[in-house]
Subunit: 142 residues, 4 copies
């Protein structure tokens, strides 16, 4: 299994992202990472696979390290990769870098569970569900 492929998204820091300390507010990075995941999931969700299975994704943990600050007009690169698939959890690693200098700004592990929308219970990640989640990151030709 190849989990090494990265998805990359660009976001430019705007005036309303900045807070009283003159740098990007810590909560905004979670929005940036959510943008990156939406972009990544667009494909996964648009074919309707998970909707047809009546399954949803639910974030159960975010562990984010703030390493440096970012500022107005900087372009950020958000790299998302699949880190681990556990029994009942899927962990994405997301790294936010300043594009020009390549300096790491923050990084997070974001843990999801697969939710059965009928029973509202989390389910084991296996079979076709597992294959479909992996497919987002595996190269077309391996």
């Amino acid at each position: 299994m190849n989990l090494k492929m990265k998805h990359s998204t660009e976001i430019k820091v705007r005036g309303f992202h900045i807070d009283v300390f003159g740098h990007t507010n810590n909560a905004r990075y979670l929005e940036f990472m959510e943008v990156a995941r939406w972009e990544l999931f667009d494909e996964l969700l648009s074919n309707g696979y998970f909707k047809n299975q009546n399954l949803g994704f639910v974030v159960v943990n975010i562990n984010i390290d703030y390493m440096a600050t970012s500022h107005i007009n900087q372009t950020l690169l958000i790299e998302t990769e699949l880190k681990k698939i556990g029994n009942k959890s899927i962990v994405y690693h997301q790294l936010v870098k300043e594009k020009e200098s390549n300096q790491p700004i923050c990084k997070a592990d974001v843990t999801f569970c697969l939710l059965d929308l009928k029973t509202r219970k989390t389910i084991v990640v296996e079979g076709d569900n597992l294959k479909t989640i992996r497919s987002l990151f595996e190269p077309v030709v391996s």
Copy 2:
């Protein structure tokens, strides 16, 4: 008809409300005004009257004047009053003041329509709907 009663809400400016210019971001005032309207509408909506009628409120215009800036740790007072009820529109006037100095920060006219949620069309504001909307602002003893 007495349209003079005011509803008042307090909000404290926090670090993440501030933007790159060092003062509260212009979009955040719309969130503050929405908080004030939710507080005001709590009563109106909690008795289920509009839900039972299958009616919703839809914002069609906001006209906001920015008069002064506000800053971290200032307490803002948002005063909301019913300005006008037209044939198909309800206009609230909202004034944001800095509490300590009483200085006006911004003010807006916010125009709503009543939406029939079945037909998705706006309807004339009359009869019991009109009475219920007015009741939020009329004094208990008039």
Copy 3:
């Protein structure tokens, strides 16, 4: 004077832009319009002209019409044009459209003043300041 040139920005509606009504929250459109203006102003500000003059822009009024709702995964097109330059004010008109259908979602007039950052007073828009603001919208070859 040619005020007809439009600046255009694309933004995709994400999950966190949506509110309890299932469509984009009214305050988020102000963020979208601010993104469009930042993109437009990048050029104007990056050459340092206004900074060197110790001048800033201050929003004094936003008058926004909400015409239709937008939803998750829709791409919005924000068109910004210079509407009017008054004695002491500059008015931009911003139109948000759903890209695929071209349906208008909302539109706003956004009024700015030029602020002398030393005296904190607004100044008349004239001379080189006027020329520089116009230059953003005038065609290179007219």
Copy 4:
């Protein structure tokens, strides 16, 4: 040392906190927790102690567990307590509960460092700095 005192803040979930999934967006909880910390720090910062020392607080990690969803009009209680003071780090634990049912919604460890604003380097938490941070949580009479 008594680290057991809790600080408690109330926030009501509003329409714009909700996202496309119909519950409070994960990034908004970071804003809620920041509100709680601002309230807590008001006292600490208002006496000017840290400003006089030319010291700032910088968030270096947030580890947040999402345990349940919250919804429009629910009142949330955010309890903040001092969890640990390390050599160079201060860890706050924040628990968000739904007020009426007392159900845990999410909880986070938020790790800060003390930043020397002149050198932009983090410093060891000791002496009067340590005492002042502890003082926020210690009972007046112990």
